[in-house]
């Protein structure tokens, strides 16, 4: 059988780095094909070439028997290739139908389009109301909008980049049913994910990239997550060390944090209370958009509360700003790498200054010690194995995982008493994620209190001592991890999140 898509020695180099070097592989019709690799292995560049966002320097692609060299995403869509990105490109203030209309090349009358959306979305088990505002939708539903937008173009090949990172376990199950249905209809899916268990459950074949080259192909169902991860990194995966630390005194306590929503589409915090002890990792689970950002801002000091709502070792700190809290030993690592944790256009040295000035004493009377800062940046790069030519490189030149290691390292190396991390391993490959989790464990073992906010339940079950769930801006009471089950937590996170309608209709 002729493969649907075949790549023949695709090569793409950027100044200073070869992203893809003679990559060849093929996707059969009606196949779910996984594209695996560490961050920086070249997956994004390859997918961008297939979707017409970059033009390869050398090599050919074929779609069935025709030469395929899309000059733009529009050309790729024309040829039947669609893509769902990891980051959604939707307008909050527009309706579902309006958002979809914006992404489509040809213009359908609005009523006909709404009807098509209902039809297609229901047909694939992803019901959507075309008239609702995207700003009012949950993350799972937003992803549906992106998927339905692709399906309306009847693609032959659907590319999905990290689709499950924002979904509850129940929502993942629904998505997988849809993907399997598409496979039965003969649609091919190129699936990028770091969640190896999911890949083993869903994908027919996998191509593994390392350093821009294809290093292996396998049938995921016949491998273990560990063996796949080791193929990706080309080395043995370290086994996490067990922690034996006994929780000490309470370090950080939240006492009924109430904060109004800062913007129309944000979530208010409602009576959030918890305690974290020295040596303890508190995991906060929840579907994106349920108040994690707002809770993070309140804890990091970007938004202030009344003094007593947050106490550090008994001292009220609710009114203090980020630097006041840093001076006391409370550090934070935001979720959004580019733009929040980092200034993308600034160098790693400057980004080390960004949150390291107070605690690393990188300033004197307002004047900045740049050489000391460069040393600090170098220390982070070395201790956390950040792959970059040096601290003078712009933050945005690093791959997501390397950048994440840099920002987690930046806070960890400042020996915090309390560390708050939001999505510590989001979009990060297995090896980097393992390193980050180990760093959090080591920190707790050294007597720090850690709060890990994450949508990855498996991760939280692995690293946390106790677990709480945030939903609609309220936090459930933390419970020891040993006492909770994934199903229970999934339901507390909102189950299928208002998607029950789906089953009623179908």
């Amino acid at each position: 059988m002729t493969p649907l898509l075949s790549l023949d020695r695709i090569t793409k180099a950027y100044p200073g780095v070869v992203a893809n070097s003679a990559v060849s592989f093929s996707v059969e019709p009606g196949e779910i094909h996984a594209l695996l690799g560490e961050n920086g292995a070249g997956k994004s560049t390859l997918v961008k070439a297939i979707y017409g966002l970059v033009q390869p320097d050398a090599g050919q692609m074929h779609l069935l028997d025709d030469a395929y060299a899309p000059a733009s995403p529009a050309a790729a869509r024309e040829a039947g290739v669609a893509m769902v990105f990891q980051h959604f490109s939707l307008f909050d203030a527009l309706s579902v139908a309006e958002n979809i209309a914006l992404g489509l090349g040809d213009i359908l009358p609005r009523r006909a389009l709404a009807e098509r959306i209902r039809e297609v979305s229901r047909g694939y088990g992803l019901p959507l109301d075309p008239d609702r505002l995207v700003g009012d939708l949950g993350v799972g539903e937003r992803q549906r909008v992106e998927i339905v937008r692709c399906l309306l173009q009847s693609p032959r090949l659907l590319i999905m980049d990290e689709p499950t990172s924002v979904l509850t376990p129940q929502e993942v199950a629904i998505l997988f049913e849809t993907l399997r249905l598409l496979r039965r209809e003969g649609v091919s899916i190129l699936y990028i994910s770091h969640k190896l268990e999911e890949i083993r459950a869903l994908c027919d074949r996998a191509t593994i990239l390392r350093g821009g080259r294809v290093v292996a192909t396998c049938t995921p169902a016949q491998e273990t997550s560990r063996s796949i991860a080791e193929m990706m990194i080309g080395a043995r995966l370290p086994t996490p060390t067990a922690r034996t630390a006994v929780p000490g005194p309470v370090l950080l306590a939240a006492d009924g944090i109430d904060l109004p929503a800062p913007t129309q589409f944000a979530t208010p915090l409602r009576d959030v209370s918890f305690e974290v002890r020295s040596g303890e990792i508190l995991g906060i689970a929840g579907v994106a958009g349920n108040g994690q950002e707002e809770l993070f801002a309140a804890l990091s000091g970007e938004r202030s509360t009344t003094p007593g709502m947050i106490t550090l070792a008994g001292e009220p700190i609710g009114q203090r700003g980020p630097n006041g809290r840093r001076a006391m030993g409370l550090l934070a690592a935001p979720e959004e790498r580019l733009g929040h944790a980092a200034a993308p256009d600034m160098t790693l040295t400057e980004n080390a200054m960004l949150s390291g000035r107070v605690r690393q004493r990188l300033g004197l009377a307002g004047f900045l010690k740049w050489s000391a800062t460069t040393n600090f940046a170098r220390a982070i790069i070395e201790s956390f194995d950040v792959r970059t030519p040096g601290p003078e490189n712009a933050a945005k030149s690093l791959s997501g995982g390397n950048l994440q290691k840099f920002f987690i390292g930046r806070e960890v190396l400042q020996s915090p008493r309390v560390l708050i991390v939001n999505q510590p391993t989001w979009g990060v490959d297995a090896a980097a994620a393992a390193a980050i989790r180990q760093a959090l464990r080591d920190l707790a073992a050294g007597g720090a209190a850690v709060i890990a906010i994450s949508q990855d339940l498996d991760e939280l079950m692995e690293v946390s001592d106790s677990l709480a769930v945030i939903s609609g801006g309220s936090l459930s009471a933390p419970e020891p991890v040993a006492n909770v089950s994934v199903e229970e937590i999934g339901l507390r996170m909102g189950g299928t999140h208002g998607m029950e309608v789906a089953h009623a209709d179908a």
Binding site: Q55, S300, L338, A343, D345, V358
Partner: protein, 353 residues
Amino acid sequence: MLTLELRTSQSRVMTVATPIIAVICTMIAGGILFAALGKNPVEAIRVIFIDPLFDPFSRTELLVKACPLILIGVGLSLGFRAGVWNIGAEGQFIMGGIAASAVGLAFYGTEGQWLLPLMAVAGALGGWAYAMVPAVLRVKFTANEILVSLMLVYVADQFLRAMVSGPLRNPAGFNFPESRLFHDSAVLPILIEGSRVHAGVIAAFVAVLLAWLVLERHIIGFNIKLTGSAPRAAAFSGVKPGAMVVVCLGISGACAGLAGMIEASGPFGQLVPTLPQGYGFTAIIVAFLGRLHPVGILVAALVIALTYIGGETAQFALRLPAAAISVFQGMLLFFLLGFDILVRYRVRRLRVA
């Protein structure tokens, strides 16, 4: 077919090259404009850009004209980097001039070396206070500082007219709307014999140095760059957005106010209704032409000063209308902003599939 491709990092070559390309394109387009006005374009460009450089008096005049542009441009550039758009430097310039003149006139006839520094402080404070109006309105009521600061220019202009026709009018001036001529202690000393180059030029160079120091070595400069580059990262770093607005408008207002004092006490030597010459607006072009970099602004201010001086010569030598020179300066900003795209993007020839 040509297409634009995003560069992985900003091109340093283009950062420096685009202002030069813009100047060259302005010369070409300006030449076409002058030709359309029936003038010899080559001669017009020569009169504007080349001749002043070979005339000793014009060379010193470059410094006189560039001085307020540098001072205001440097102040504005800090705010522009942080995304705080002070468009009303002209108004702050006027208010600084009025405040400094009022102090100078209050001590009319009193000799002393302390008077000029006092006037400088009054000028800077006047500009700063006037810039606080848009700053407070922005922070407290989220009023757009672009509109508020711009509209306040016209208020300041009327206030100046009221002052020179009222409280600050020369009692022995036959009711002309202007102040007394400042006495010696209130006039900036001349640095170069036989020219108009005054001590204010030193202040402009000091401002360049200070701005460079603040941007490269100080937390205020770092926070300014951070706010402009990634506002959320700045908030995470501990920068309060409101404080940033107040600081940036304050610095640029003080710089403009000081420039107002220097103009009044330097070239004019009195307070006149024609004190505002549009430096506050032209400094916006200067700031961008100089890439918001202190040294770049120094160079840009000299280039713009050249067009002023050359433009004046062209007005009487070639009978070019005054408006043509303004159009000329406007073209410069237009080309500069247009070519800016080359810093972030590269032009690629698209292969035809």
